[in-house]
């Protein structure tokens, strides 16, 4: 017996070392699979929001933390400005700023940009380690390692965390998983120490991403589930109650959340469960100290009085929720609960492509084979059901729902899918290798008495650490019944032989298990191939530099940076540039010019003003822009090279958003029989609006026919002149076109124009009034 003890402890040590090295490799894998964007393109910040984060980080590293909190940004939302310190989730910026500061104080002179570019890959390595820890708490280290590998290369997460994608989610997913891990750890150990760490991790999550509301709703849901299913334990109390108190206080410290942490309905669920868990704890305590007969009397007495109190409390809460506007829920949360909400009421949320519901192929694209493994993982979690595995089940169920509402939240689904698939895969391998092992004669001869025990311990090297300890702890978390059964079985050695027989009965035929293993490995290989393809081809385009392959080689379209560089070199520092809000962050970050609206869509009216200007005829648009002190107008046009996400394709959203505030813009005016078209069938309103003119001005000179390659048609109105704008710059591939507002005329020549301008001021002044509203 002593010899086998030494052997198992050696195995444990060996397994631990192996697991450690595997984890390091997983970290390297997670980091390096995200470097395709740097290798294929260059080390740049990607897309839109990352540019803003980059700019904030630059400010932070230059001016320090106090200036950062007090930063009033006058370069954006002209003339309103924006209080950056109070409206931004500071987690990502502070993280990258700290990284940069540490590196610089170690005399490693990296630029801020480099640090920003590589923050996301570093944190994805952390995230896969956190996944290992979480899954290890649920189902042991074997499942943990599998889940970590899966997470390291799940395409959905890669899409948000390639090098250069410097966005909140890059850090937040790590924080999310780590918070869940610490919650489970607290739940399993009942230690206040982990509870403290848990609330600090939650604080980091609140700092990083608005998605923290997912945590603060999921954990109460789990606590409620445990209470309702009769799994309440004092460990649950220790895991839950301190987290809510500390977490609420910590969340209130973050300026962007502030008092919302106690005022909005997103957080009320946690308070409700907080009260409930105290009631339940008291009931369990009284039950513990009273005799069963007296307890019955107590229940009979308390139920009548307690119900009245409960109803009163619920009535007060309902009144509080009802009295707050929009029932206390923010637009984005409401659009989560009611998927049709956004498209009905808030076009600005609906207009963002990542807020659309996903299609089925996008599930296959983003989580691939995991979608098929998840159900198996759920089943594996039910046997045996523990507090931790019930949490994972709840996590996957809620996140599947949320991902069905918004594409963006596929990101929340990905870790859950990885964890469950990891559990499924590891359990499957466990069963198959065990049945192979029991059937190979050489091994069973080796230790005929201990075969059952040994096989369960040495299935896969990674699994060695799992063994009795975790199995026991998991059994502990099952219900009381099974615990009592366990304590009876613990006393005698007999059950081990019993379980051995059981294991022998569950053995599968040798051939079947070998084939199954081969198939599973093939499945895994398919997943790896797909993930690498997704990382290399689909998700690493920085979207400010575009490439296309054609018969005569590779084309690089670097028009965006060309345009922004032109702006920064050829315009005055104080000039205002108007564009659709998508390009606001990039303009402020790359061209360092003041913009009217940007991607932080906090003021709908202001965006609607720009949308109205873009959809108005030239003169009215000029009036609007002139009243906003705009010097230059920037439009993105993809018709020449076939770049589909240009302003003409986004134009209907400008009309909708503009029309939502200024009713004289009507969507049907721009549609011919409900169809959006720009060829000669287009409506006159469409052909005369500013966006059409700025996009297609002089377009006919390129090929003589003015063939739009995105819409695949010839444009409707080819030859026209601009009266109030002049073209100042068009990039090499015509992707960005910059126009300057002509200065107002000194005097008006001719009688006909005079009468026109007399007729116009009426409408113009009316529009001006409307426009004045926001300021």
């Amino acid at each position: 017996m002593a010899a086998t003890d030494a052997q198992t402890s050696l195995r444990h040590a060996f397994g631990n070392v192996l697991a450690f090295f595997i984890l390091i490799l997983i970290g390297v894998l997670a980091f390096s699979i995200r470097l395709f964007s740097v290798i294929k393109y260059e080390s740049v910040i990607h897309e839109f929001d990352p540019y803003f984060n980059y700019r904030v980080t630059q400010f932070l590293t230059k001016n320090g933390i106090y200036d950062f909190w007090n930063w009033f940004d006058d370069r954006t939302w002209y003339p309103l400005g924006r209080v950056i310190g109070g409206t931004v989730y500071p987690g990502l910026t502070l993280t990258a700023g700290t990284l940069w500061w540490i590196l610089n104080s170690l005399n490693i002179p990296l630029s801020v940009e480099t640090v920003c570019v590589f923050t996301a890959p570093i944190f994805s390595a952390f995230a896969s380690w956190a996944t290992y820890l979480l899954t290890k708490e649920v189902k042991g280290p074997g499942a943990g390692l599998t889940a970590a590998v899966l997470l390291a290369m799940v395409p959905s997460y890669i899409s948000r965390s390639v090098a250069g994608s410097y966005d909140n989610e890059a850090v937040a997913i790590f924080a999310l998983i780590f918070t869940f891990y610490l919650y489970i750890k607290t739940l399993n150990t009942g230690s206040l120490f982990y509870a403290t760490l848990n609330s600090i991790a939650y604080f980091y999550m609140v700092c990083s991403w608005g998605g923290y509301t997912f945590i603060i709703n999921l954990i109460p849901m789990h606590a409620l589930l445990c209470i309702v299913t009769g799994r309440y334990s004092s460990r649950l109390y220790i895991a839950y109650a301190p987290l809510i108190v500390l977490g609420t206080l910590l969340a209130a410290l973050v300026p962007v959340v502030g008092f919302n942490a106690v005022m909005t309905s997103e957080h009320f669920a946690s308070f409700l469960v907080f009260i409930l868990i105290h009631v339940v704890a008291l009931v369990y305590y009284i039950k513990g100290i009273l005799s069963p007969k007296m307890f019955k009397v107590a229940v009979a007495l308390v139920v009548s009085g307690g119900l009245a109190v409960c109803f009163a409390m619920i009535a007060v809460l309902v009144a509080m929720v009802a009295s707050s506007p929009t029932m206390g829920w923010s637009g984005r949360s409401l659009s989560l609960l009611d998927p049709t909400y956004a498209s009905k009421y808030i076009p600005i949320i609906a207009s963002v492509s990542e807020h659309q519901p996903p299609t089925w192929p996008s599930y296959f694209m983003d989580i691939n084979v995991l979608a098929f493994l998840v159900p198996a993982g759920i089943i594996a979690c039910f046997s045996p059901l523990s507090d931790a595995s019930s949490f994972v089940i709840l996590y996957i169920v809620t996140s599947v729902y949320f991902s069905g509402v918004m594409v963006r939240l596929m990101l929340v689904l990905a870790p859950a899918a990885c964890i469950l698939s990891g559990i499924a895969l590891s359990q499957a391998f466990d069963v198959f290798t065990r049945s192979i092992k029991l059937q190979l004669p050489s091994l069973s001869i080796d230790s005929p008495v201990d075969a059952g025990d040994g096989s369960s311990e040495s299935v896969v090297p990674d699994d060695t650490v799992k063994t009795d300890k975790t199995e026991d702890t998991q059994k502990e978390r099952t219900s009381k019944k099974s615990r009592s059964r366990k304590s009876s079985s613990e006393s005698v050695e007999k059950p081990s032989s019993k379980s051995q027989i059981k294991k022998r009965l569950s053995v599968l035929p040798l051939e079947t298990s070998i084939i199954a293993i081969v198939l599973l490995v093939l499945l895994g290989a398919f997943y790896v191939v797909h993930s690498v393809w997704a990382a290399a081809e689909a998700y690493s385009a920085p979207s400010i530099v575009l490439t296309s392959h054609s018969h005569d080689g590779l084309h690089v379209f670097d028009d965006f940076r060309e345009a922004y560089a032109w702006l920064s070199h050829n315009t005055e520092v104080d000039d205002k540039v108007a564009s659709w809000w998508d390009y606001g962050y990039q303009t402020t970050a790359m061209a360092n010019r003041t913009v009217i609206v940007d991607n932080n869509t906090w003021n709908n009216t202001h965006i609607a003003t720009v949308g109205t200007a873009m959809s108005s005829p030239e003169k009215a648009a000029w009036e609007i822009f002139h009243s906003l002190d705009v010097k230059y107008v920037l439009v993105v046009f993809g018709g020449l090279v076939g770049y589909p996400s240009d302003d003409i394709n986004k134009f209907l959203w400008m009309v909708r958003i503009g029309g939502g505030v200024f009713p004289h813009i009507k969507e049907p005016d721009y549609l011919r029989d409900g169809q959006y078209r720009i060829d000669n069938m287009a409506t006159p309103t469409m052909l005369n609006c500013l966006m059409y003119k700025l996009s297609y001005y002089r377009f006919v000179e390129t090929d003589g026919k003015a063939f739009d390659r995105v819409r695949r048609t010839e444009i409707g109105k080819k030859h026209f002149k601009l009266t109030h704008f002049e073209e100042v710059f068009t990039t090499h591939h015509w992707m960005v076109r910059i126009y300057k507002l002509k200065p107002p005329k000194n005097r008006i020549r001719g009688k006909t124009k005079k009468s026109k301008s007399k007729a116009n001021p009426k409408t113009v002044s009316k529009r001006k009034e409307l426009k004045r509203n926001p300021f």
Binding site: G190, S191, L192, F193, A195, T196, S199, I200, S233, S234, R235, Y237, I238, A241, P242, V245, L246, T248, L249, L250, A252, L253, F259, V262, A281, I286, G288, I289, L290, S291, M294, V297, A298, A300, L301, V302, S304, G305, G306, A308, V309
Partner: protein, 124 residues
């Protein structure tokens, strides 16, 4: 709470039950060790302070809302942490047999330090 709910016909038997119950509760409770009783007193005091602040808020108004919030939450937090400590050091609680009371107390102190650092920050 039990006494106020006596509105059914057999009110005399209910009051008797209630008296029995209170007696049983009292006798069961007096069997708890002194150190747990001290913690209970501490918890009761913290909850009482929190209630006092809520009453004060109802009378005077919420104006420095962060002060009110940090005041109430510090009391609630203290109470919750003390309850956690009580759960952990309770000898009858089988789940925490392996946990030394010293370790439990160290965790308790750490958690309290964090809590009150946050509160000092938030007090404004």
């Amino acid at each position: 709470m039990a006494r106020t709910s006596s509105s059914s016909p057999s009110s005399s038997s209910i009051t008797k039950d209630a008296q029995d119950l209170l007696r049983a509760l009292w006798s069961a409770y007096s069997a708890t060790p002194t150190n747990l009783k001290i913690i209970d007193l501490y918890v009761a005091f913290a909850v009482f302070t929190a209630l006092l602040q809520v009453v004060y808020m109802a009378l005077v108004g919420t104006f420095p809302f962060n002060s009110f919030l940090s005041g109430v939450l510090s009391c609630v937090g203290t109470a919750v942490l003390a309850v956690c400590l009580r759960i952990q050091v309770n000898k009858e609680n089988k789940e925490f047999k392996d946990l030394a009371p010293e370790r439990a107390f160290a965790d308790f102190v750490l958690c309290n330090v964090v809590l009150h650092l946050v509160i000092i920050n938030f007090l404004g």
